[in-house]
């Protein structure tokens, strides 16, 4: 567990949007999906997911509906709205720009070699 990275502020929303971009999921399913697509490299408190979900619903990026889960339990399923899909695309592009810039800044410079 110790080799898991802490999330940067603001990245949880992006991960949630990404996780539900493949289809509607309930909260626990979103956690599993994030674990799956990040190869379990990120540490997310289970409960911390829910304030994030409620925030995204309020912003109109997700919509929620009660349904029945694969375990035959009642669960609230979240899916992307049109605005959510647009936001995911924008945030992904902006994240890639930022990550690229940081990686370039941290890579060995010619004068160091």
């Amino acid at each position: 567990m110790t080799d898991q990275a802490q999330l940067l502020p603001g990245t949880l929303d992006l991960l949630i949007l990404r996780a539900v971009s493949l289809g509607p999921l309930h909260g626990y399913g979103i956690l599993l999906r994030i674990g799956q697509i990040s190869a379990n490299a990120l540490l997310i408190e289970q409960g911390a997911l829910y304030p994030g979900l409620f925030r995204l619903v309020r912003q109109g990026l997700l919509k929620a509906n009660w349904g029945t889960s694969e375990n035959n339990r009642k669960a609230k399923f979240y899916e992307l709205t049109v605005a959510g899909r647009k936001r995911l695309e924008e945030e992904t592009a902006s994240w890639n720009r930022l990550a690229g810039a940081i990686a370039a800044a941290l890579s060995p410079q010619p004068e160091e070699v």
Binding site: H26, G27, Y28, Y50, P51, F54, N71, R73
Partner: protein
């Protein structure tokens, strides 16, 4: 429409608070049950799996509080609480309430008086009966609005369209305040006018000059 939706949602969070809380509780319980299902599949007993899942999840109340805040539910609640606290506090100290209400009333009254005076004397158009039937005469083929005095006499004597015709002229003059010379508009007696006519123009001129110094010009000049 989104504003309406948001408002309705906030009212809902205020009045259906317990229902929304129940729904949050249900959702978190569902999460814990799913986690327990997974742990059970890994070989734990159901009771042990459920216990483990609850411990992993942590304090539900804390998260429900955060969910409620993330929904924006705190806004209406705190507003309502603030209103209630204010009413209670004011009831407890009627002296303070009276002083506050009187202070506000006086301040509002003073402001209203000052503004209505300013409005009546400075901001309103010239105080004539029908400001919208006040026109400035100008020759159609001339860029300047200046007319010669004989033209004015002709206009005045042959006028059938207007109740009356009046001439005036405005000039820029220097106002010496010992420190600097400020440009101001002043009135000049038109060449050849009689003294009464000049005094009449001058009377309007005072208003026009005043209004010009206030940064406004007359909408129509009297002719």
């Amino acid at each position: 429409m989104r504003v309406f939706d948001a408002l309705r949602f906030r009212m809902a969070t205020l009045f259906n608070r317990s229902r929304l809380r129940d729904e949050m509780e249900q959702e978190l319980r569902s999460h814990i049950a799913h986690r327990a299902d997974d742990l059970e599949r890994q070989g734990m007993s159901r009771a042990e799996a459920e216990r483990r899942a609850r411990i992993e999840f942590g304090g539900r109340e804390k998260y429900k509080e955060q969910m409620h805040a993330a929904q924006g539910g705190h806004f209406m609640e705190t507003l309502w609480q603030d209103v209630r606290v204010s009413v209670r506090t004011l009831r407890k100290s009627p002296g303070f309430l009276t002083a506050a209400v009187l202070t506000l009333a006086l301040a509002i009254a003073a402001n209203a008086v000052v503004f209505s005076v300013l409005n009546a004397f400075l901001l309103r158009p010239l105080n004539v009966t029908h400001p919208n039937s006040l026109y400035q005469l100008q020759h159609a083929n001339e860029a300047s609005s200046y007319q010669s005095y004989p033209d004015y006499i002709d206009l005045r004597d042959r006028n059938r369209s207007f109740d009356s015709v009046m001439a005036f002229t405005a000039d820029e003059v220097g106002l010496d305040t010992a420190r600097a010379i400020h440009p101001r508009f002043g009135l000049r007696r038109p060449v050849g006018t009689t003294l009464t006519r000049w005094a009449w123009s001058h009377f309007w001129g005072i208003f026009i000059t005043l209004r010009m110094s206030m940064g406004r010009t007359a909408r129509h000049t009297l002719c």
